[in-house]
């Protein structure tokens, strides 16, 4: 996979998680800026999906293609579901849900990288 895209997704999702933690500590409920922030991370994940699909077409599939695709799908679902679950909670813990959801993004991206490198050569 393209390292630059992966690192960008990891950096932005971690920054977003830190922002949510800051908001949680300051007792803020999830607001519009937090949703927009989640949308920015989601946008980068869509970019990553497009890059992954291009790489699959150009370079061929990694060994565990099924798992790779499953991780790609999960990477796109986590934040929308997180936002949905967070917005119904009118307290700081809604912001906490956004933090947890965004913290799962780097984990998924690292796994995607590992699965891709398994392709060998």
């Amino acid at each position: 996979m393209v390292d630059v895209v992966a690192w960008l997704v990891i950096a932005v999702s971690l920054a977003y998680a830190a922002w949510c933690l800051y908001a949680l500590v300051r007792n803020q409920i999830p607001r519009e800026p937090h949703v927009i922030g989640a949308a920015v991370v989601e946008l980068l994940l869509i970019v990553q999906l497009v890059v992954a699909l291009i790489m699959l077409a150009v370079r061929g599939a990694p060994d565990q293609l099924g798992v790779f695709v499953a991780y790609l799908v999960v990477s796109l679902l986590v934040l929308p579901l997180g936002v949905f679950w967070a917005l119904a909670e009118k307290s700081r813990w809604g912001t906490g849900v956004l933090m947890v959801a965004s913290l799962s993004v780097p984990v998924v991206v690292v796994r995607l990288q590992q699965l891709w490198d398994g392709v060998g050569g």
Binding site: G66, A70, S91, W93, G96, M99, V100
Partner: protein, 135 residues
């Protein structure tokens, strides 16, 4: 009339999110293992699936209101605690040929030890939400 403990609001909201992540991670992982490599090590893979089901049940039970859901949540979290302690101990100190491929192996080291901490947080939260419902 005694109010049923609300486990799906406040900090419980975050807890449900974490449980949901582990439900997906454990279930998907075991589903893949069973589909592709079941013959290699059926017992750990079935254990993986069992862990996935436990997380799934805990997620749904914590997310739903009502006394029944509360009881199911307590049971699921206790089973989870027993699972991570037993499987963790067997894999960390016991028989060497037990594969490391479950969420609970080595007390959940592959998952940043979150599987070990999670049931304790779960029990704390269930206890706290019950006492706030009584008062």
């Amino acid at each position: 009339m005694a109010e049923a403990p609300a486990t799906n609001t406040g900090p419980g909201r975050v807890l449900v999110a974490v449980y949901a992540l582990f439900a997906v991670a454990a279930t998907a992982r075991s589903g893949y293992q069973i589909a592709t490599r079941f013959d290699e090590a059926p017992v750990p893979f079935l254990l993986s699936a069992f862990a996935g089901v436990v997380y799934l049940v805990a997620t749904v039970a914590l997310a739903r209101p009502g006394p029944t859901a509360y009881r199911v949540a307590v049971t699921a979290v206790l089973v989870e605690l027993a699972g991570v302690l037993i499987v963790g101990a067997v894999t960390a100190f016991g028989a060497g040929d037990f594969p490391r491929d479950t969420v609970w192996s080595d007390f959940g080291r592959g998952y940043g030890f979150i599987p070990l901490v999670l049931p304790f947080v779960g029990l704390w939260w269930l206890r706290r939400s019950a006492s706030s419902a009584r008062s």
